[in-house]
Symmetry: C2
Subunit: 220 residues, 2 copies
Amino acid sequence: MQRHFDEQLKDLHQEILKMGVMAQEAIYRSIEALKGRDKAMAKDVIARDHKIDLMENTIDEQCIDLIARNQPMAGDLRFIATAMKINSDLERIADLAVDICERVEELTDKPLLKPLVDIPKLSTIAQKMVKDSIDSFVARDIELAKSVMRADSEADRLRDLVQDELINDYMVKDASTVDRAVPLLLIARYLERICDHATNIAEDVIYMVEGKVVKHHEPE
Amino acid sequence: MQRHFDEQLKDLHQEILKMGVMAQEAIYRSIEALKGRDKAMAKDVIARDHKIDLMENTIDEQCIDLIARNQPMAGDLRFIATAMKINSDLERIADLAVDICERVEELTDKPLLKPLVDIPKLSTIAQKMVKDSIDSFVARDIELAKSVMRADSEADRLRDLVQDELINDYMVKDASTVDRAVPLLLIARYLERICDHATNIAEDVIYMVEGKVVKHHEPE
């Protein structure tokens, strides 16, 4: 029985990892679609989101079932509760990649605005934060989790930079850019929200390992 | 022991209700601050958010503790798991009210754009959806939960309407309106995201009552 339970926990680990890879891939491809003005790729990311949605449901069921059948003790319970939270964050990250792709679809019909200001840079940070947050979960690595929390302020700064540039250097100077600048501005905000979800994951990992809630506190 | 557990479940119920009221109040006051150009009220909503953050942590701990100590059976476990999800949605709803207030702070320094297009209407829908979603949890009312899910498409429609009006009737026609129209556009999106969280809650209530996952499916 105990051995069976340990194997189920390992499976859960693997499922979260798989979901993390799918979410990272969705972000990567959404920004590739933006850079390449590739409507087909955007559509494909949107179409595949359904698989991630289903996976979220399955992992949730798996967690509840694990708790109900095994009545796990505190440490395992924290692991399962954390897996449920990470699961929900990853699904929302994938949803944000879909939001990006919907803006890409709008943009590909219009002339190019300019080389996308700092959006690709923000996207690189977002992908790294998501990857590191999942890695910190797998390795129970508190230091890595804290580095994710610290990276979030750089993401905030970049989003503000992108937004200021789009507003002041484009929209205000030339109103004909508005309908192309607004989708880019939203994409910058989606990326920053992806970083927020990675930060949530990192906070939950610290809680899982240390049993200490760091959410809503500043990182050390 | 069982009686004690039932009382703890009732407490959890009450805490979620209390958190729901705080979140609703935060939305209401954020839009009052917007309408009244009331920077002090906006600041107050932002300052009080810390209480909601702490409450989220407390409820989370309470849920884990309840499971660890009582090893509840399937029905109670579903109730506790749902409470944890609702807890997280309510905290994010309050965060979105803070986002609205931050935009209000930017706007009060600038001349008024116009009577806020359909934002107050969207806000009324958002508040009703949050209230109904919490009520559906308290009363285990599937029909009410389904009505919340249906209302979400009206919220999407209104957000698109507000956005189109701000872009085409203001920003494109007069570039000097951009720095006031963008915050309003973002506020409309925040309100629509509040509606999404209310929809999440409604979906979780249906899961709790029927043991059936309706998330990522269309309402009947």
